[in-house]
Symmetry: none
Subunit: 310 residues, 2 copies
């Protein structure tokens, strides 16, 4: 189904909520077997739906709680596979309520979502300032990537009860929320995002010296809130931007340093500290810098940058 076809029936589909009992499995888009996440494409009421199932990591609380009904060990049994000397392998069968999975539903899903979650080969390109002006910027503008869901958050229309802290200043303000990928509780996988109030900064590419107060404000207040609320010291937190970002409204990712969160690779993630330092060293750093970024083969930017190279 094309994107326009999808859009034309979205109003109708909005009337219907996603219903798991009506979900029809179609195919696996990708399956990360080390992280135990699967991205499934299917349909619901004839509209495409993506279901992301992710097993949840363990918490200390599960093993230490004195509530018998919530104690992992008291509500599980072992099924022996084999034993060799001091080593033995088992399956562990756990009460279903103590072994939930995180499930994200995208409904109705568009071609873009399907592409995003389909496993594909990656390629790296160098974006010079000239290529940004000539290719990336027109691409962002013409594709009209919607950030309505960001505005819903910033206007308190959605997710208001999820806000960790907010600073409503239009220049240096931001809202800090748990990331969609986080369950909102487990310290070990902490992942929160600061969304900037200013609607005119698409990405780090547009950051200049005048934005230093904004960056410092986001850094200081977010780290302080993470410390107060989740007990993580600033030395235990990774704060970074993505380039290219998944949506072109400036935001900062924060997660627990010990957690190998997705998207923290050096060819995608730019540390907030480094960005601040670069601008301090050279006020027009992001106007002059050549920035590497990684795209997948069926991303529009792949063909645009491939053509420019040849």
């Amino acid at each position: 189904m094309s994107e326009s076809e999808v859009n034309s029936v979205i109003s109708e589909a909005n009337l219907k909520e996603f219903d798991w009992d009506h979900f029809k499995y179609e195919r696996i888009l990708s399956n990360n077997s080390s992280r135990k996440v699967v991205f499934i494409l299917g349909s619901c009421f004839e509209m495409p739906a993506i279901v992301i199932l992710e097993k949840i990591s363990f918490t200390q609380e599960q093993f230490t709680t004195e509530n018998d009904k919530e104690n992992f060990i008291r509500n599980s049994k072992l099924e022996k596979i084999f034993k060799n000397d001091i080593y033995e392998n088992n399956y562990c069968i756990v009460d279903a309520n103590l072994n939930k999975m995180k499930t994200t539903i995208i409904f109705p899903a568009t071609e873009k979502h399907i592409n995003k979650y389909t496993e594909q080969e990656c390629f790296t390109f160098q974006e010079t300032p000239e290529l940004y002006e000539k290719i990336t910027l027109p691409h962002i503008t013409s594709e009209k990537f919607t950030v309505d869901w960001v505005y819903n958050v910033l206007e308190h229309k959605k997710e208001k009860d999820r806000i960790i802290i907010e600073d409503l200043d239009s220049e240096i303000g931001f809202m800090l929320l748990p990331d969609l990928k986080w369950d909102g509780e487990t310290k070990e996988t902490l992942y929160v995002t600061a969304i900037i109030m200013n609607r005119n900064i698409k990405s780090i590419r547009e950051l200049r010296q005048k934005h230093l107060p904004l960056l410092e404000n986001v850094k200081t207040k977010s780290l302080q809130a993470i410390k107060e609320k989740y007990g993580l010291d600033s030395t235990q937190v990774r704060a970074y931007f993505h380039y290219q970002p998944s949506y072109y409204h400036l935001h900062v990712h924060f997660n627990y340093l010990n957690y190998d969160s997705p998207g923290i690779y050096c060819d995608k993630a730019h540390l907030l500290d480094t960005v601040i330092n670069n601008i301090k060293l050279m006020s027009n750093y992001y106007e002059k810098a050549t920035l590497n970024f990684v795209v997948r083969k069926n991303d529009k930017l792949y063909s645009l940058f491939s053509d420019a190279k040849n």
Copy 2:
């Protein structure tokens, strides 16, 4: 309990099998929240036991099977957390028998097992140019980290038959070799390292404008060799330095872009392209920059930088 004490009671313990109902939880040794594996220390009949619980990855069969009792979708239900626009988050509660965990038991466990599975927490620090001079450089010098094995390679005393390409120029030369972590064959996990001939550059911290010809030479010739020998285009290769590096003799890591190789995180890996670009933008970038780095708690630099912070 010491290793000898453990050994002295092993014969007695061998009479008793591990019993989950008698397992007493003591503490979590480590918890890998991205891979969803937890290493637990406890005891059983007063003997130390390690329990390794690992969630299992998804299989296509779970979603396609026509056996109703084994079908994931038909044996699970969703519990809504919140909904925003086309995105909604749920918990998924699955029949316990379709959601088993892999469980390895080590019983009785020794001190060695306990050490092996104990996690070291990571911390991030900002190394200003002043802190580099005051702490890092004296640390590198005083600890006399040996790089003899590097010199053995550069002098053709060791690993000569493993060299992929070499350029013996003392200023811009280097040798390219398969990394020890690579099997030397599988394209999907390609990992090769360029070791610089020049013995006077400890790390990126010492790179200056005069080193640009060296960096460009390593980049061009290595990428060309990787293309000719392993069929990977330069757009499919990730080239980067580590900071702090594991040894203080300048070297560049190259691996296949699709491969989540260890040590490619943004708080450790610095892209070769970015390093070249930074020096072109500002010839003394690495003399002036504040560089973030990550250390584990029992690393000497952890205590040195902690003390400096307080």
